[in-house]
């Protein structure tokens, strides 16, 4: 479907004041069509600034953002079209719910797109299913739901715009393991059924390893590695040098291999590791 390319993108906060802070420096990256791309980096590494570039919330100070080869800032008046095509779920999206019912809140995006009533209703139900929002919740007030339920409703609010590229900033932050799994699997299902690209920002190596196809690693505002997850995770020294690490289970397998046990080290989930080890017995 759609591909986003960042070309030499830079951004500085509070330029020319004592509080100046370089958020992104010369970032060049590609987000492939139909893939689940993970963006990994520490707090303050520039991840959130990066994702806000993807849908035109933040305008790069230099460099270009290309959506299907076209600069999204070519016509700043049409930036809202880009925002409908590239859906961004911000960090802790549950705090942006505002309408009287979950249904109305999910419908906010489609309504701004100027769709008709029936289409909106259809999209609300479809998005609710993808994000794991129970139909019973739809007529409740957002403030009557639990944190995890609100999070799902907020994600549904973006999915309802049917973005070609769905970008999520820490979608699973602060949720329990069941909630994490639920959301991550819903995102995979969305990709599989619609063919849209999904971009997930996280600092959980485990989640990334399990669900992503491609990985972009950023540190201190620069991209230090990108590509297929196997390629990225094979550079464990580089990852460690910026304070990140390969997934724990991959580390275990690698230590086994280092000690002369013949196992496959390209393993990213506990289930796969169990199967690998079973083969030995």
């Amino acid at each position: 479907m759609s591909e986003i390319k960042l070309e030499n993108v830079s951004y500085v906060y509070s330029e020319d004041t004592p509080y100046e802070k370089r958020a992104l420096t010369d970032v060049t990256a590609t987000i492939k069509s139909g893939a689940i791309t993970g963006i990994i980096g520490h707090t303050g590494s520039g991840k959130s600034t990066l994702v806000q570039m993807l849908n035109g919330l933040t305008r790069p100070m230099s460099g270009r953002v290309l959506l299907d080869g076209k600069d999204i800032w070519e016509d700043p008046k049409k930036i809202s079209d880009v925002r409908f095509r590239v859906g961004l779920v911000m960090q802790y999206p549950e705090y942006q719910l505002f309408d009287e019912t979950i249904r109305a809140d999910i419908a906010f995006g489609p309504k701004n797109m100027g769709l008709d009533k029936e289409e909106i209703e259809r999209r609300v139900l479809e998005a609710a299913d993808f994000a794991g929002v129970d139909r019973e919740w739809l007529d409740k007030s957002p403030f009557d739901l639990s944190g995890g339920q609100k999070r799902r409703a907020a994600i549904a609010g973006i999915i309802a715009m049917r973005p070609e590229i769905l970008v999520l900033d820490e979608p699973a932050a602060g949720l329990d393991p069941a909630g994490r799994k639920n959301i991550m699997e819903g995102l995979c299902a969305y990709r599989d059924k619609t063919g849209s690209s999904v971009v997930i920002v996280s600092h959980s190596m485990e989640d990334m390893a399990q669900y992503c196809d491609d990985i972009i690693v950023i540190s201190d505002g620069r991209v230090i590695a990108q590509g297929k997850k196997e390629e990225v995770f094979s550079q464990s020294d580089l990852l460690r040098s910026v304070g990140l690490d390969i997934p724990q289970i991959t580390l275990v397998m690698r230590l086994l291999a280092d000690n002369g046990i013949n196992v496959n080290t390209g393993v990213y989930t506990v289930e796969d590791a169990v199967n690998e080890i079973y083969k030995l017995i």
Binding site: P18, R83, L88, F98, M161
Partner: protein, 272 residues
């Protein structure tokens, strides 16, 4: 939005930055009094010089200082025009139909301009640019503490100010985030009629209020957990202490005051 000028504090580590906030508050009041003491061209010249000196000592870039003046440009121009056209005097310079411009009018206008300029520079250099809002609240609490004797809740007042100031950046950041989130869903805050734009604020204001209440609730629980019980017997983390340099600053300002009064006595046709 990050540029909104409430937290204008601009750290350079100058003498003025390091001075005691209570002294700076007193000096700011004194400086305001000084600007109103001026009566003739000599004293206005002196106060102008003092303002420039203040900027230089604080080492705050001229560009930043001028930005705060730009905000009041309209008032300055308005005062200028009113003074030029409305002042009646003895030396008529220009006359056309109902417009009479006297030399006194032009002199007055210039004096007023200098006065406003000095007022802005004095207060912004002594307070906003060089003192953090928290230090300022501490200073106010300390200066007003004698009023506790007549049962005025000074500590509570200062605590509320501190909390309010503390949360302004937080709420601003939050507003920005919520705005970005709603923009990502296609909300439009800049186009359309006034009513449409006012309506567009609802998706921002509701989440903002909800989160402000949530924060207030969390903060009160956190204070309760640490046994906060008001001002009695409470000590401060930052204890304010006057130092020798503070008194030197005070002397300099007192000298300025005296100098202005002396300069006012000089005879000149350019006087108020």
């Amino acid at each position: 939005m990050k540029n909104i000028a409430l937290g204008q504090y601009y750290p350079t580590g100058s003498v003025i930055h390091r001075a005691d906030p209570r002294m700076k508050l007193i000096l700011a009041v004194l400086f305001i009094v000084c600007t109103f003491l001026c009566k003739n061209i000599y004293s206005f010249g002196a106060i102008l010089l003092a303002s420039v000196l203040l900027v230089l000592v604080s080492r705050i870039p001229l560009k930043t200082v001028l930005r705060s003046i730009r905000a009041l440009l309209f008032i300055m121009i308005f005062t200028l025009v009113i003074n030029v056209f409305m002042t009646k005097g003895e030396v008529l310079l220009f006359e056309w139909k109902f417009i009479h411009i006297y030399r006194e009018g032009i002199v007055n206008a210039c004096f007023m301009l200098v006065r406003i300029f000095a007022l802005i520079i004095g207060t912004s250099i002594l307070l906003t640019y060089t003192t953090t809002p928290i230090a300022l609240t501490d200073a106010i609490e300390s200066l007003l503490s004698p009023l506790k004797k007549i049962k005025l809740p000074i500590h509570e007042f200062a605590m509320m100010m501190t909390i309010a100031l503390r949360f302004i950046p937080t709420l601003m950041e939050e507003t920005e985030k919520i705005m970005a989130a709603q923009k990502a869903r296609g909300a439009d805050f800049t186009n359309g009629s006034l009513i449409k734009r006012a309506k567009a604020l609802i998706p921002i204001l509701i989440p903002l209020f909800v989160s402000a209440f949530r924060r207030a609730d969390e903060l009160s629980v956190a204070m309760e957990c640490r046994c906060y019980h008001g001002g009695e017997g409470r000590t401060s983390m930052r204890v304010l202490k006057y130092r020798a340099s503070d008194f030197l600053l005070f002397l300099a300002f007192a000298a300025l005051c005296a100098g202005l009064i002396a300069l006012n006595l000089l005879k000149t046709p350019f006087a108020l």
